[in-house]
């Protein structure tokens, strides 16, 4: 399934390696099944999948996410629209009402709204997944190193997290966007900059308990270095927390991206994102152009709710795994 794989973009190898070891190390009693069995999250066992599947809302959410990905990435090949250059030959093509030709009408530039939703959604999903992936990988390493090192290093690293967390994110991100003009990768970086803090904190907390475990002591006794312990033993054992949090990070990234786009700091034209579409559409609300506002807004809500539900269900599933151990 796309969403889970996608959330780990950026360092797939590390994550899949982590999952493999995690499966062997932490859950010897749980049935380790072939990858893919657990809905694409790797060999984490049938138990997790079963508890997850019991949650009907989470299954519906997976369906919504899959649909959204198909809509945004496959959709443009089926529902073909012009989204790159402006050729307005007919004044009726601007702000047109929904019709058989343009299912959700057109925007003030004459772009078809359904096609615009696809382009905007693809951008939003790409940025959100990349940002969440980068933030998760960075945050996990930051947190694990901080927690494992302890002492002064830990204190300094965590004060950095505290400081950035205490600044209202949106203010900070907009200053950066205003100084360095927004491009696709700058926005990915900006969203990731806001997203790595929570995983860093969570993984640090987890590391503090994990580093006292016997198997970590054993590695140390056998002469394993700190790097090996962090990468091969601490991070793999925190994989449940990491995956659950990455799911929430995707949801948050979509929200943050929408807010940035709404305030005018989105991807440069002719690209767009759902937030930017809403921001442009608001000027036409009084003229009753509902198709410029509601579809984009509903897309943002649907995908965010879905990722949050999936995250919740995954958390329950991983907690059950912990309880059965």
């Amino acid at each position: 399934m796309i969403p889970f794989g996608g959330a780990a973009t950026g360092k797939d190898t590390v994550v899949s390696e982590a999952q493999r070891i995690g499966g062997e190390l932490t859950a010897p009693e749980t049935e380790v099944t072939e990858a893919g069995e657990a809905g694409g999250i790797g060999g984490l066992g049938k138990v997790i999948w079963r508890v997850f599947a019991e949650n009907k809302l989470a299954l519906v959410s997976v369906g919504v996410v899959v649909f959204m990905f198909l809509f945004c990435f496959v959709g443009p090949h089926i529902y073909v629209t012009n989204q790159t250059y402006l050729v307005i030959t007919n004044v009726n093509q601007v702000l047109a009402h929904p019709s058989a030709q343009d299912w959700l009408g057109t925007d003030p530039n004459g772009y078809d709204t359904v096609g615009r939703l696809m382009v905007g959604g693809a951008t939003a999903l790409e940025i959100a997944l990349l940002a969440a992936g980068i933030a998760t990988v960075f945050g996990v390493f930051f947190g694990a190193i901080s927690g494992y090192a302890g002492g002064a290093v830990d204190a300094v690293m965590m004060r950095i997290v505290d400081t950035v967390l205490s600044v209202p994110t949106l203010f900070l991100l907009i200053v950066i966007a205003a100084i360095l003009h927004p491009s696709f990768w700058l926005i990915v970086f900006i969203v990731a900059l806001a997203a790595w803090l929570v995983p860093a904190r969570l993984i640090r907390g987890e590391t503090l308990t994990l580093r006292t475990r016997e198997y970590v002591q054993a590695v140390r006794a056998m002469g394993g270095g700190g790097g090996r312990i962090v990468v091969r033993h601490i991070i793999p054992n925190a994989v449940g927390t990491i995956i659950v949090n990455a799911t929430f990070q995707v949801a948050d990234a979509i929200g943050l991206l929408a807010a940035l786009g709404f305030l005018g700091f989105g991807v440069p034209a002719p690209g767009t994102s759902w937030g930017q579409m809403l921001s442009n559409g608001i000027s036409y609300a009084q003229e009753g152009a509902w198709w410029l506002i509601y579809p984009a807004g509903i897309c943002i809500i649907l995908i965010t709710v879905s990722f949050n539900y999936i995250g919740d269900a995954l958390r329950d599933a991983f907690e059950v795994r912990l309880q059965r151990r």
Partner: protein
Amino acid sequence: MVGYLIRRVIQAVIVIIGVCAITFILYHLFPGGTNSEARIILGPRATQPQINLFLAQNGLNKPIWTQFAILVGHVFTFNLGYSYKLNEPVSTIVLQKLPKTVLLVGLAILLTVIVAIPLGIFQVLRRNKPSDYALTTMSFVFYATPTFFLGIVLIEIFAIHWHVFPPEAPQSASVGSILADWRALVLPVVALAAVSIAGFSRYMRSSMMEALTEDYVRTARAKGLSTRRVNYVHALRNALIPIITLLGLTLPAIVSGALITEDVFNYPGMGLAFFNAAINNDFPLLIGTVVVAAMATVVGSLLADILYAVLDPRIRYV
């Protein structure tokens, strides 16, 4: 208690120095270094002697640590630079706008607490019944709704269709006259509070559920207290304590939300000033506002933590 307070205040000061460091990094993010920073303020036609004078006046030609020390000194003395676009010191502009944003955020927090806590309790009392599920779904949806989208929808419904509330926030200069125009305040406050109501009610629900499983609740039941008394006196009072911490933790998010709400409803607070500064490339005002927003958030979190210590004796003596 005093020891806790001192430790907490020192922590806040460290965070503010960290905020200064972020500000410093922001100033040095300008492509081209200090030279281009001078150009952004003086304009593209500034001559090299003018730029040199500017750098000397602002201490930008000194070693990097001296520059940082100057910046920290400025922040602690509330000297935030000068907005060349508005021809006013940044601190004057911010002091004008800050009370309005504090009012908006304060009202939103008040509404959140008034609505979310009873909602969470209600859900616990009818847990796993249809009304509980319906409210959970609703809070998920509201939690996922971007503030600006909710704002637009509220304007569409209540201002354009039904004409119940005006579409624009109060435009008055003073806090008193803003409050007098309460009808115009309703939509912005609701839009800003909705996300936190959703989050807080879910948190309240789980916090109350947890409190109900505690030993002291069982003891209270065993000694024959009424369910009402157990729920509202024993469980609720303990369940409320984590909510105060949550308040401190979500404050940055609410302040970020205020930025959007002020933009949607054209509310003349700090968020709108910040947004206009971003559009006009008014960098001194832009960065000054970030510093003040961060400091206000740090102070707010500090207050929440102090309140927490006052209410929960277990924290005080750690």
